[in-house]
Amino acid sequence: MIRVLVIDDEADIAATTVEMLELRGYKAAYVTDVEGIAEAIKRHQPDVILQDAQMPGLDLKPTIIAQRGASSKRMVILVFTASVDAERIWRIVGADGFVEKPFAFDALVKEIESRMAVRAMHS
């Protein structure tokens, strides 16, 4: 089962996203504060991270670098954002893709699957 960690300071966004992922057969969990990210990765061992781009106290690029170092898995990290310039920033910060909010569940699942497929090809 593919494990997804949703990182978003908006608890309602995180919770609805997790509920949706669970309905689609993923194992999902969420964390709402920057300080809790490392612990959540250790505990949940995600294959995929959905990382909100704007959380209080978040510096996106170093956070993504730290996430890559925090797990032995080659994780798919997607920038999860309400910002209009997601398309411009996701490569710069070292993510594998992005999901713009609001999002259609089908589109999110498709993005996760296609990025997982790219990862499988490279490993």
């Binding site: 908006e10 966004i13 999002f103």
Partner: protein, 368 residues
């Protein structure tokens, strides 16, 4: 121009009326450039009129940095390639519009032209650009802030849809609560945005205002909306100011509402509205014993969408204090904030005007 159509003396008067500097420049046998004619208002301002030039080369007439900047341009003119250019001249922004005067064998005999002072234009265009940037940033923030509750609404609806075959009352209830909360958040954001716009545009209806009575009304309303909240509100009797009543009420609603909100975690919450003399004028203040804020961040408080507290801890759109500052600025007044983290906040404000400072009924020193 035919000389008989405009006598020389009238031409001279006409040139004097020009806001620009009208000039003629030639290269003499010594290889140097000379201003042989230079009149108009800008020439007077720069002390470069023909009379003041006294037949000295351009090199001696203008500051070294200006000479270095314009020499290559005028060299080009004497080659027969004049072009407009703009540069800084003693704190001014000026535009040169040179033209060649050709001799009988098509050589450039002289350069004539006009130099305009565009300092004001330049300043205004910079201001316009800054306010355009601000507007872009503002709409960017608005769109982003609307997307968050919209995402919650959209996701909750999709969840209801996904579960419609096998509905679960518990999950449906959860999603409906979220949707209700998100739509209230959007409503609040839209209301605050409208208030921010109104603060800038509505015409001020100035009158003497009984601030004490106005504030009591605001507090009564807050108590009615939140009847379980235990909070000690003290309003000094006899507070007045001159201003637009609707907008001043907005200011009080916002400041007292913030005090209400940021003291929410205390059992001994206290809010005080009073007045104090500072710098020979009377300031009104709203003081609370809530969470306060980092004083080094005080400047950010009054910018739209700047929030010093985590939205999950204290709700807010980040527009309220920007609206307050805008209202007070429009009255010719101002606001400032004083605080320390954990030690409450004090907002001091006035609505401008030259009202003599009257001694407050009770002198209250604010973090003196």
């Amino acid at each position: 121009m035919r000389n008989d159509a405009l006598p020389d003396v009238e031409l001279a008067n006409l040139v004097d009326l020009s806001p620009d500097m009208l000039f003629r420049c030639e290269r003499r046998a010594d290889g140097l450039l000379y201003l042989t004619f230079s009149e108009g208002r800008l020439a007077q301002t720069l002390h470069l009129t023909t009379r003041e030039n006294q037949d000295r080369p351009l090199l001696d007439l203008v500051p070294a940095d200006v000479f270095e900047r314009i020499l290559p341009e005028y060299e080009q003119c004497f080659e027969g390639h004049p072009r407009e250019f703009v540069h800084e001249w003693a704190g001014r922004t000026v535009r040169h519009r040179p033209q060649c005067v050709f001799g009988p064998d098509q050589d450039v005999m002289a350069v004539v032209g006009a130099i305009s002072d565009e300092t004001e234009l330049h300043r205004l265009s910079q201001e316009l650009r800054a306010s355009e940037d601000e507007l872009v940033a503002f709409s960017y923030n608005v769109s982003q802030d609307l997307r968050t509750p919209l995402t919650i609404l959209d996701s909750s609806l999709q969840l209801l849809e996904e579960r419609s075959q096998r509905p679960s009352p518990e999950a449906s209830g959860r999603n409906m609560v979220r949707m209700r909360h998100a739509s209230q958040r959007m409503t609040k954001l839209i209301q605050d945005l409208l208030g921010f716009g109104r603060a800038a545009r509505s015409e001020l209806q100035l009158q003497d205002i009984d601030v004490t009575a106005l504030a009591r009304g605001v507090v009564e309303k807050m108590r009615a909306q939140d009847p379980d909240r235990r909070i000690d509100v003290r309003i000094l009797p006899g507070l007045t100011c001159r201003g637009d009543k609707i907008l001043v009420r907005n200011v009080l609603e916002q400041l007292l509402g913030n005090a209400w909100k940021y003291t929410g975690k205390r059992n001994d919450a206290r809010v005080e509205l009073g007045s104090v003399i500072r710098g020979g004028r009377e300031w009104l203040f709203v003081k609370d014993n809530g969470v306060g804020f980092d004083p080094s961040q005080a400047g950010r408080l009054f910018h739209a969408f700047e929030r010093l507290h985590d939205p999950s801890e204290f709700e807010g759109t980040g527009i309220g204090l920007a609206t307050v500052a805008r209202i007070l600025r429009r009255h010719g007044g101002t606001i400032r904030a004083e605080a320390a983290p954990g030690e409450g906040a004090t907002f001091l404000f006035h609505t401008g005007g030259s009202r003599p400072a009257k001694t407050p009924a009770k002198a209250i020193e604010v973090y003196a």
